[in-house]
Amino acid sequence: MDKETPEKLEWDNFLSLFEVRSHPGLQFKNTLKPFLPGEEKVLQKELIRTQKFSQFILKHPDWLRSFSSNIQELKDLRNSLKKAQEGGRLTVTEIFEVKHLLLLIENIKAMLKNPELSWLARFRPKGAPILFRILNKGNQSPQSFYIVDEFSPRLKRIRKEKLELLAKIEAEREKMSQELQKVGLKPFDLDAISLPKDAPQVPFILSNPSFFMKSESRYELVFAARFSSDVLKWKDKVKEIEIEEEKEEKEVCRKLSQKISKFVNTLNQDTEKLAYLDFLLAKSEASLKYQGILPQILSKRSKTSLFMKAGLHFPLALRLKEKGVEFHPLSIKLKEGAALLTGANMSGKTVLLKTLGLNVCAAQHGLLVPAKSFKWRPFDFVFFSTRGKEQDGLSAFGAEIFGLKKALSFSEKRGLFLVDELARGTNPKEGFAINAAMIKFLSATRSTSLFVSHFDGLAKVVQVEHWQMKGLKRISLEQAKLLAKGKDGDILLRLMNYRLERVKREQNIPHDALKIALLLGLDEHVIELAQTFLKKA
């Protein structure tokens, strides 16, 4: 697709239906690439996997819940793993995350052992149970991580010494607290005992050598405990030990990081597999929402290039549903070469182009298609040209031609050209000629093209397959006048026939613009005036 086509087809809107649960899953989705001609076999496998997984999750809601809650725990640890691989020391939290990933991998591995999922074996993560055992030392739970004493005998010794000293300090503090409790004080902090100046306990504390006055303000006195020189020595020792403890903890982290570095490739590959599974789950769930079907890949020998039966443009269908309007499913069959599509205004020609383009893209990205049936031969690219907007200093016509020029530079490839009212902004004579020339040119290539046009007589000149939207064919202008009376524009939606028919004998394009204007509420006198001009012309 060129830069503008995805936006015009609403590809991002469609992809937003695929809700991945993890950051790696999101990265997978954001770098999604289409399968191109030559990759049909891989694409077929991918499509079948999506369909099978959709059916599986539908059948096993408990499995889905559990899988979903596991996969949402997946984190992107590539930076930490790279750090370990480059010889860096991981922090405790980084090692915890690695352990968490290992556990997650084991959980998902176990879930994928379900016999009904044997076809997913290729995506089963390998895991690193040895590394998990290394990190899961001591009596910590599999889910948690701490630098336990078992990682280092030295650390064990240091911590033991620290705990003994802390216990001695605590015992001294407890003694001091008990002293204060004798006079009814239960201070929270022995280093800041605030008392009002007139508090009855003040004389007791002032006379007690175990306490000293720290500060005095207008209304209160602040005391602190005076610890013995032994306690002060112990406190200093604890500080020294804590430095040693930290050093040793870092040493343990360094050693563990070295061990982790040996499993970096496995962990990265497993993360990629889990990211894929996250996306597979997202697309399977979305397919269930839009009732997607398995698209069929046509062989090179097939005369048909693209066939869609009752296809939907799902993002548009959703928006219409919100307004209480139903999307009319669209069907068409195209051969290699060019075809022409005509029809009344507002009869859904542009929507058909968008639906075809979007669904071809969906199928080539391994997604199920919202249709009753969908068959196609994969394309090298999809190009959608629609009513241009002014851009980069070019007029709408300029932008349209510039886009086509770029797409035509790939004309030796097999593309899908969806061209909506080409050159509508220029004079009709030359516009007609440009359309005719483009259709002729593209019909001689390997591409498949569908041109929407309002130019009379174009079909006769270009001699290509001609499709027409049924539109308002069954209704005469007089009937439209009667129907429009007192009704709002919604009458048009009800009367419009959005079905397609193949034009067998060449005929002029439908002239329904006046009927539509009438049904949309344009003044009847203006319509009558327009009719007289039409007759003169």
């Binding site: 915890f96 995350e97 009002p196 303000s217």
Partner: protein, 310 residues
């Protein structure tokens, strides 16, 4: 002191502070020190907590903090949450020893709720949320089941100080409305027991005049008053939660005098007010007199001064 007795039946308590050196972390530390053995504690902070006074986290309690916090390696790490902070994502761990630290926690109510739910699912009986400066949103029902207001007494204009304290508490304890609007993202007027949505333009003033109650989405500020300017008779305004009212003491008082009534759809109860009247030797108030005065103006709410041991 027995702060824990005020928290009976509640699972999560937030500490909200107003004024300078309000003593939020000190209040947290009191609760943590009072907890009996066997009570499984969970601690977190809304933003950066324990900067002036470090949080004293007892051994074996659970802490939710950003993973780049210094004490993270003193924890048995249990779970990583989806809450993000500039100091890394929030993790939950068990303190392997008693710790004194500054911790950084979730920065928005949505993340705080996730952290609170995770602490709860990990078996915490009581979750304590230390707040950052004047973050009244911590009283949200999404953050806590009840809250404690920590007041720092730092104003020399005493009359204004009492007025301010009284107004703040009045705002945070407005009554709960008997009726709830269909959603919290639109303005609604309650007319004959029906909530009718309205947009903020002058044509709707008539509808408001007829309303028994109006619902104001988001914050109710001085700007909201501009729209309702000239409204003298009593109007009942309902907000989603009390902390969403941001009015000056003067406006709050004058609206109340004019018969305005404020209500909320949700409310976490204010269970206790703690007082810090010890912010420096320059201070001109007697802490004991201060406690008496605040107790009197906030009666029947319980008020304690943690340092007075009273």
């Amino acid at each position: 002191m027995g702060i824990l007795s005020y928290l009976k039946g509640f699972r999560a308590v937030s500490i909200i502070g107003t004024g300078k050196e309000s003593g939020k972390t000190t209040t947290c530390n009191y609760i943590l020190s009072e907890a009996p053995e066997g009570l499984r504690l969970g601690v977190t902070s809304f933003g950066l907590g324990g900067v002036q006074t470090p949080l004293r986290i007892p051994r074996d309690s659970l802490v939710a903090l950003a993973k780049n916090c210094e004490i993270a390696n003193k924890l048995e790490l249990l779970e990583e949450t989806n809450a993000h902070t500039p100091w890394g994502s929030v993790i939950i761990g068990r303190a392997k020893e008693t710790l004194q630290a500054t911790i950084a926690g979730p920065l928005c109510l949505k993340d705080l709720k996730e952290v609170r739910d995770k602490l709860s699912s990990l078996g915490c009986d009581l979750i304590i949320v230390d707040g950052v400066l004047n973050k009244k949103s911590l009283s949200s029902h999404r953050a806590c089941d009840c809250f404690i207001l920590a007041l720092g007494i730092d104003d020399f204009d005493q009359d204004l100080l009492w007025e301010e304290i009284q107004s703040q508490v009045e705002v945070l304890t407005i009554p709960v409305s008997a009726s709830m609007p269909p959603s919290f993202d639109k303005h609604y007027a309650l007319v004959q027991e029906k909530w009718i949505p309205f947009s903020m333009n002058e044509e709707n003033l008539d509808l408001i005049r007829k309303a028994e109650e109006i619902f104001w989405p988001g914050a109710f500020t001085e700007k909201s008053l501009e729209f309702l300017e000239g409204w003298n008779s009593g109007l009942t305004v309902t907000v989603e939660e009390p902390w969403q009212i941001f009015l000056s003491v003067y406006n709050w008082r004058s609206l109340k005098q004019n018969g305005w009534v404020f209500k909320s759809c949700f409310q976490s109860p204010l269970v206790l007010v703690t007082l810090n009247a010890h912010s420096g030797s320059q201070f001109s108030l007697n802490p004991r007199e201060c406690l008496d005065k605040v107790s009197q103006i906030l009666s029947p709410l319980s008020v304690v001064d943690l340092k007075l041991n009273e």
